[in-house]
């Protein structure tokens, strides 16, 4: 092989790998990302049932009902609108009424939300940033300051 051909192989290989990666990334971005919405967003934007989303807001006071087995229902509110959520499983440590929560799953078509993952992170005055920002955008006064100190956030 001449020097030129060798360089051709190298460049060709590089372009092929990068091209493959680009195609994979574009497909993955199309199919596997999940949008984040508050209950009001869902009403406004008309999110379709069956589409996988993240629902964020506060757990409404007094709305948590532990049913038979491990199924739990609660309402997620942004103080303007609320959506009932059903979840089967064990809630995270920091799940609490009146605190911020992010549920991942799908709308069930009858106004409810079926979550397969529930995330909650909290101390007295910490709120997931998604939730805090979304709530503030809806004009909800939080009256608390965000405080650093979450999980692996302490890693570099």
């Amino acid at each position: 092989m001449t020097r030129k051909q060798k360089r051709g192989v190298l460049i060709g290989g590089g372009v092929a790998v990068l091209g493959l990666a680009l195609i994979l990334v574009l497909f993955a971005l199309k199919d596997s990302i999940v949008f984040f919405h508050t209950p009001s967003d869902i009403a406004e934007k008309g999110v379709q049932p069956g589409q996988r989303i993240r629902l964020g807001g506060l757990v409404e006071q007094g709305s948590v009902v532990r049913g038979q087995g491990t199924t739990i229902t609660f309402k997620v509110t942004d103080t303007l609108k609320d959506i009932p959520v059903t979840f089967t499983g064990v809630l995270p440590d920091l799940f609490k009424e009146g605190q911020g929560v992010v549920a991942e799953g799908v709308l069930d078509g009858s106004g409810g939300f079926k979550a397969d993952t529930v995330l909650a992170k909290h101390d007295e005055n910490y709120m997931p940033r998604d939730v805090a920002k979304a709530l503030e955008a809806k004009g909800v006064k939080l009256g608390t300051s965000a405080h650093p100190g979450q999980l692996k956030a302490e890693m570099p």
């Binding site: 060798k6 790998v17 940033r129 956030a153 570099p156």
Partner: protein, 659 residues
């Protein structure tokens, strides 16, 4: 008083660092030996001053001096001593202090052990290293000063997040930082070489041990973080593709590539320009990681909000060093001589493929990590990019990498014999085939691709052994000859054996536990049973207990297998005193077959408890594989041939948290 002393030492360190940037760089330009020599005492005193500052802060933590804002916000008088000490880096300000401490440590190590470096190169390396220190010391002093006082002092502190009060987590930041900040040395060498305008095989020989040291600590640091997440977060996962994890994983991928390209450069003088670029990129990814974690741009669960001044400052540092480094590269790289030639099928060719795939993989992780932030910044739309994205993009890139991994070392430099390598790998192919058949026979559940994935891991493990066997001539020489060759084989060859074997184990663990994991979520009352992973787990009840700074509900599970008792598991839910926050403690029974993993949730009406029980097959292979890779790095580092550039003693000079 001691706190002020620490604060003062930190300011002094900044001044010393400024001197260390200016004087040696100028000295190297005018060939003034005395000015170049300033770099060494400067690097040492800079390190000692930062160490003093660090010890002063630790003293404030250990004595619970709540007149220091940082201590009051992150510590508590009832916290066990070990977590008071670890609490120093369990927060933003303290962890940045650890960051600069390790940065200065690497600089001091080059000053002490880099005796055989050409004087101008050494002066320039230390000068560049100090310029990074100036940037981060300024960042620390101006935006994240851990020594600020609080008046009046509160009677007690707010406490350390209980999730962080755990040995694996408490001690993994020093390892992780040693890894990721350690790549700064590769960066400094690259910039110094670009300034010198000269680069050769010797350069790679000097850089490689430092990169290797950084790489092995990053490997074990990431593994410790993953191990912690596995048992502490209570859902049995070991990797979440969280931005914080990605932040340390991207430099790992690039650093692994750098390690391999520096090898080509050292042995064959090829890939010189690429290696320099990679050294700049690897440290840039470390800076990017620092930016992602320390600036508050995160939007995932692990996110936190800090004031934007910090984010802008780190972004400025990132732009300055990455941009400056790349600009210098663009100016100078074209003057460098291209190195040795090689055929595509050769050792060099395989290492180019390794680099191509690793760097592309790092790029996909970067896209997945930054895309949500960019999208939110541009459109306000909030999205999350989770495991599905990374499984679709990162995963497919790893398959060719793993297939090629055992082949590369069997090819000769310059021009390799592909068919010969295939022949020598026949045992590895056989092992893979047996694995596929066995996996299908044992497990009928799970995706049909899983046995092939496990076989890929076994093939890599077998390939690593074949390469070693081949070098010591197992099967073709007498026993004495083999033993003699095995003892005379350079330690770096054993390092390769361990590192590649470890990767194979890791792959086996990842695929097996992802594909064949068993999960049960149920409500249990005392006396009830559940069958998990071949075990019978009986819930016997819950008791209340009291730890040093928490109360807990401890559940008790009797575990039997085929009727005979195996162990008792005691998962718990803890409530810490300060801050009052619950945590989940998993009950884990580990075995070679896999982990039985039980956690309890909330009490149910009627006396039951929500229980999650998992069986994670071969999950230990993941961390064991990483540990073997770490050991491989250490063995390779102790190789006498590598000691030419920088001796293995860097490992002993690690920051040992003082009393």
């Amino acid at each position: 008083m001691i706190v002020e002393l620490g604060h003062f030492a930190l300011i002094l360190a900044l001044l010393v660092a400024v001197v260390q940037v200016v004087v040696p760089m100028f000295g190297a330009a005018v060939r003034d030996e005395r000015m170049m020599r300033v770099a060494e005492p400067a690097a040492l005193s800079q390190f000692l001053l930062i160490a003093l500052a660090f010890l002063a802060l630790m003293h404030a933590y250990v004595t619970s001096d709540f007149s220091v804002l940082n201590v009051a916000e992150n510590s508590h008088s009832t916290k066990p001593l070990i977590y008071k000490m670890a609490g120093v880096w369990g927060n933003h300000e303290g962890s940045m202090l650890l960051w600069v401490l390790i940065l200065a440590l690497f600089g001091a190590a080059v000053a002490v052990f880099g005796n055989n470096l050409p004087p101008t190169l050494k002066a320039r390396v230390l000068s560049v290293q100090a310029s990074i220190a100036v940037a981060f010391l300024l960042f620390s002093l101006l935006t994240s000063n851990p020594f600020l006082r609080l008046d009046p002092a509160p009677s007690d502190g707010r406490g350390l997040n209980p999730i962080l009060q755990d040995p694996a987590l408490a001690f993994h930041p020093p390892f992780l930082y040693t890894g990721y900040v350690g790549f700064s040395i590769a960066f400094s060498f690259a910039i110094a070489a670009l300034i010198e305008g000269r680069i050769d095989a010797a350069w790679a020989r000097w850089v490689r041990p430092w990169t290797l040291a950084a790489w092995m600590f990053l490997t074990i640091g990431i593994a410790m973080g993953s191990w912690w997440a596995y048992y502490e977060l209570g859902w049995g996962g070991w990797w979440f593709w969280d931005p914080v994890e990605n932040a340390s994983f991207m430099p790992w991928l690039a650093g692994t590539a750098l390690l391999h390209s520096a090898l080509v450069m050292e042995k064959r003088e090829a890939l010189k320009i690429w290696t320099v670029l990679l050294a700049i990129l690897t440290f840039s990814l470390s800076l990017m990681g620092t930016f992602i974690v320390r600036s508050g741009v995160l939007t995932s669960v692990h996110s936190f909000a800090v004031d934007p001044a910090r984010g802008v400052f780190i972004l400025a540092i990132l732009v300055l060093f990455t941009g400056g480094g790349l600009a210098l590269f663009a100016l100078r790289a074209k003057d460098m001589q291209a190195g040795g030639l090689f055929q595509p099928i050769s050792r060099e060719g395989s290492l180019v493929l390794n680099n191509l795939l690793l760097v592309t993989a790092a790029a996909t992780v970067l896209v997945g990590t930054l895309y949500p932030m960019a999208l939110e910044g541009l459109t306000g739309e909030k999205i999350s990019v989770g495991p599905p994205f990374f499984n679709m993009t990162f995963g497919p890139l790893m398959i060719p990498l793993l297939i090629a991994l055992p082949v590369g070392p069997l090819l000769a430099w310059k021009r390799g014999d592909f068919l010969g390598a295939m022949q020598r790998l026949s045992f590895a192919f056989l092992a893979a085939l047996v694995t596929i058949v066995a996996a299908f026979a044992v497990e009928h559940r799970g995706p049909w691709l899983a046995p092939f994935g496990i076989a890929l891991g076994v093939y890599v493990m077998a390939g690593a052994i074949i390469e070693w066997a081949n070098r010591v001539k197992v099967g073709s020489a007498s026993f004495e000859e083999v033993a003699r060759r095995a003892t005379n084989l350079p330690r770096s060859a054993y390092g390769t054996l361990f590192a590649h074997f470890g990767i194979g184990m890791l792959v086996v663990g990842i695929i097996a536990t992802s594909a064949y994991r068993e999960e049960h979520i149920l409500a249990m009352k005392p006396g009830e049973k559940v069958a998990v992973g071949g075990f019978e787990v009986t819930f016997t009840g819950v008791e209340r207990g009291r730890g040093p700074n928490y109360t807990e509900d401890i559940a008790d599970f009797a575990v039997t297998r085929d009727g005979s008792p195996v162990t008792r598991l005691q998962p718990a839910k803890r409530l810490y005193d300060a801050p009052p926050q619950p945590t989940t403690e998993a009950g884990i029974h580990a075995s070679w077959r896999g982990d039985l993993y039980v956690v309890i949730g909330d009490a149910q009406p009627g006396g039951g408890y929500a229980v999650r029980a998992y069986f994670n097959p071969l999950v230990r292979f993941i961390w064991l594989g990483a540990l073997i890779m770490f050991l491989g790095g250490g063995i390779s580092l102790s190789d006498r041939r590598l000691r030419i550039g920088a001796p293995s003693r860097t490992r002993q000079a690690l920051p040992v948290p003082a009393e």
